[in-house]
Subunit: 70 residues, 6 copies
């Protein structure tokens, strides 16, 4: 499967916090110390079997990326 | 200024393509070869003075981050 | 590849309008007359080789779905 | 009311899971078996009176729609 | 029609810039000097007949709202 | 710090509801009675120290702004 989603970053799940409806998953990007936070449904966490140590790809559509300058 | 936006990644602008209304800016993340694509307004590009070589921070709200597993 | 993205709808590209930075792709969903509009980068259109008649899957993260009642 | 939101799909609520802050609502689209997942606030669920069987319209802005090809 | 979209702000269109695929519409909020920028498809601008002076409501889903503190 | 995010509205936090993973923060905009709802992570609320009465800036990317006409 090939995605229109421009931003695809490989990493490893470092934590999963699950609420009633939503969950917050933290992913350490490969090759560095950057940690990415993802808010997805509880269902998606179960469906993908996301637990600490799982290899994942972080996906972000380009229209969701803002930029800042000092 | 401190942001609720969980994902903040430093990088350098590598290209700017500007249309009539929107622009697409590519940013190489620091400490690696990953390139992030951002779709923002033409006005934002002008306002921030974004050109090749500019130091920027990539910003992504956690609700915009999806995950994939193989 | 398995995605956290909850909404995945199969369809066929019915039109592609490409600007300088962005493109608008229309997709007729399988099994009906519903047409979905997607705004993605010009690069993504080229990368996926999207042209009229292409089979695609429409992807929408659940946090992007609003609801209306009469 | 007429919306700029390009994607408007009629359906019926099939489940509502409510957390402290957010809720996840599933909607079966009319004329098929496709189920759409929507993550909205708990307040919105109460305000719209969303319960199983309610007729709703699913709304998705075109900038939130990604595409995939095999 | 009642929307799950929590943020609905009335205003008046002050400018429309249209590209090949997308358009940028600026809206002055009622009761103040705040101007909101919206990036929508060229089709949506045509469909809603958006021109300078048009009365509109700005719609933003709560999951799209970030916060900043000094 | 200067943001590409076009929409930046000053206001005051009027309520914070925190769940296991996510939180919903309501902000009254300065100079009016409009209240904006923001859905952010529980972590962001803690990190920014958001409590009733806090001065904040509401941030919305232009690609997230839809429009409606009567």
């Amino acid at each position: 499967m090939k995605l229109s989603t421009r931003n695809q970053l490989p990493g490893t799940v470092v934590s999963v916090v699950t609420g009633e409806a939503m969950a917050v998953v933290k992913v350490k990007l490969d090759g560095g110390d950057q940690v990415i936070t993802s808010s997805i449904t509880k269902d998606a966490v179960a469906d993908l079997g996301l637990t600490e140590g799982a290899a994942v790809t972080v996906l972000v559509k380009s229209t969701e990326v803002a930029l800042a300058v000092e």
